[in-house]
């Protein structure tokens, strides 16, 4: 799941992840992300932007950590702010940090680590 309020980044990232052979959904803020999770969706990985309206990345990570079914979902922080400027949230299961603009190799390595090889080449997790 790609959680980012900027539609152009969210759609581009979602598209790239799909082109790389994975399924992807998007959410425009923390609250929309939680709605989908509460409906039962369990992504293998969440990419979470920090600065979002309605519910930002810090708040979303707090919410995830507090929920028994959600806290095991690996989370990668997706942001333009690096740690020397603003404190990043610490998810219970961290998949690392992607600094915008992110490199394709960073994305593929995180995807392979947490979502396994792309669809069609291995049994689903």
């Amino acid at each position: 799941m790609v959680v980012d309020d900027e539609a152009e980044v969210r759609e581009a990232l979602k598209g790239l992840v799909e082109d790389l052979g994975y399924d992807a959904v998007g959410a425009e803020n923390g609250e929309k992300a939680l709605e989908q999770l509460r409906d039962g969706l369990r992504p293998e990985l969440m990419l979470i932007d920090l600065a979002m309206p309605v519910m930002n990345g810090w708040e979303l990570v707090l919410e995830l950590s507090a929920a028994p079914g959600l806290r095991e979902i690996p989370v990668a922080i997706l942001t333009a702010f690096d740690q020397s400027r603003v404190e990043h949230p610490r998810p219970l299961k961290s998949a690392g940090t992607l600094l915008k603009p992110c490199r394709k190799t960073d994305i593929t390595s995180i995807l392979e680590r947490f979502c396994g090889p792309p669809n069609g080449s291995a049994p689903p997790r």
Partner: protein, 466 residues
């Protein structure tokens, strides 16, 4: 007579100690309140706001106490109530009240009181900021820009209060020292017997006046630096550029990797040019943000011991392709027994990348030689090229931000002219120096000399003063 003087000296000493203690609690209350409010701005959690109110009640209690102390018809219970809310020890109430009422118009006390008054104004502002923030948070989630607005306000208030706290402390320190010298003079003149007692009492105070509360200050300073970076025009603009740039790079990647796109060779070539341009754009935005960040004092060094030859070799590998494309030879010369260097790894790499990148950019044919050496002054990294060279009258100018050097052939130089300014900024932050030897037709030799640094895990670089 002697007992009387010593008695007053002792009581005054005790009173000053009570104020020192009270000020420490006041200052802790203010710092805790500022920190809690900053947390509230980030988390929006009601418990942070309650913590803020609770901590703020300490300086507010002292404020109420002070107002009552100023009154001619002072009501003792009101003062005591305020002092208690200020977390002062009940045993100190007597001395605090006596000091205030007796010495109110004596220079040191007068100064301390006026500093206290100024501090109360800032506390009031902090309270107001808190109420406004709370209203906004309750009305709906906080936008990033508003969050930064509040963090900035809190930092500003904290900065002023910290300055006042230091002034208050040093005023009390001076008062203590004045009493010490006056008491000693008085008692010496009267009797040697009680000298020991008076000195002991007076010396007991000066030690308490030193205080530090670095940790929260640092946390707030970091928030301040972060928000200040964005608040300059340059910072804001270049930060905003990152969003469309990210999307652009991602979409280009999709075209490149997708086998279904069936790109002909011409289109593939065009796509590669797009990739190059977007990388250059990303580099420019990064150097702009880096420059703005360093200028606003936000650079943090993370020191470690590195193997300079290894790191330089790695960095050069990444640039080899770029050099080859222009037909340039890129060579590294490093003695085998080069000692380790204590520095910030990523900044060190940045220096090398920048100098070598510049050399490649401005050299049309020949070679670029990187030589490492260790001398008395520290480690020397020399980047020598066979390019057109730089005229002596330009040697100083090129290190200034946004200054460019047109190449000899008159072609427009790429980039925004921050590379060398950043090299200088970062070298300064590492306490090193940059040297340049160059003349038209003779190529250029840029050298960075880095002295040994004490090994600490984290060091905040001081703001460069240009």
């Amino acid at each position: 007579m002697v007992v009387g003087v010593a008695g007053i000296a002792l009581r005054t000493a005790s009173g000053i100690r009570a104020y020192v203690g009270g000020e420490g609690l006041w200052s802790k209350g203010e710092k805790d309140a500022a920190y809690a409010l900053a947390s509230y701005a980030v988390t929006g959690s009601p418990s942070d706001y309650s913590q803020f109110l609770e901590s703020l009640s300490v300086p507010l209690g002292d404020h109420a106490g002070r107002l009552e102390l100023e009154r001619r018809d002072m009501r003792r219970e009101v003062v005591v109530d305020g002092l208690r809310r200020g977390h002062n020890h009940p045993d100190d109430f007597q001395d605090l009240i006596w000091m205030f009422r007796t010495f109110r118009h004596v220079s040191y006390m007068e100064r301390a009181i006026s500093i206290w008054e100024e501090g109360d104004v800032w506390i009031e502002r902090l309270g107001a900021a808190g109420a406004e923030l709370d209203a906004e948070v309750r009305a709906g989630p906080l936008l990033e820009a508003r969050r930064l607005h509040y963090l900035r306000r809190i930092s500003e208030i904290n900065r002023h209060v910290t300055r006042l706290e230091d002034e208050f402390s040093s005023t009390l320190g001076e008062a203590a020292r004045w009493i010490r010298s006056t008491s000693i003079a008085a008692v010496l003149a009267l009797s040697a017997g009680l000298l020991a007692v008076a000195i002991w009492a007076a010396f007991g105070i000066s030690g308490l006046v030193e205080k530090s509360d670095a940790s929260v200050r640092e946390a707030l300073e970091r928030e301040e630096a972060a928000s200040r970076t964005k608040s300059t025009f340059l910072g804001l603009v270049s930060h905003e550029f990152r969003t469309p740039l990210t999307a652009l790079q991602l979409q280009i990647e999709r075209l490149r990797i997708d086998p279904r796109s069936q790109l002909g060779p011409r289109q593939a070539e065009i796509l590669e040019r797009m990739v190059d341009s977007s990388h250059r754009l990303a580099e420019m935005i990064d150097s702009l943000l880096q420059y703005v960040r360093i200028e606003s004092g936000g650079l943090q060094l993370s020191l470690e011991s590195i193997d300079p030859s290894g790191v330089v070799a790695e960095t050069l590998e990444e640039m080899r392709l770029l050099a080859q494309r222009k037909g340039l030879v890129l060579a590294l010369h490093a003695p085998p027994e080069l000692p380790e260097l204590v520095t910030d790894r990523s900044l060190f790499r940045f220096l090398v990348t920048n100098l070598v990148g510049n050399a490649i950019k401005f050299t049309q044919e020949g070679s670029i030689d990187v030589t490492l050496a260790h001398e008395a002054a520290g480690h020397r990294i020399l980047v020598k090229d066979t390019g057109p060279g730089i005229a002596p009258h330009d040697h100083e100018r090129i290190f200034r931000a946004f200054e460019q050097l047109e190449s000899v052939q008159g072609r427009q130089a790429h980039g925004i002219g921050l590379g060398l300014a950043l090299v200088k900024q970062i070298t300064d932050a590492l306490h090193g120096r940059v040297e340049l030897a160059s003349a038209p037709g003779a190529g250029s030799a840029f050298a960075v000399v880095l002295p040994p640094l004490p090994e600490q895990s984290l060091m905040i670089a001081s703001q460069s003063h240009e």
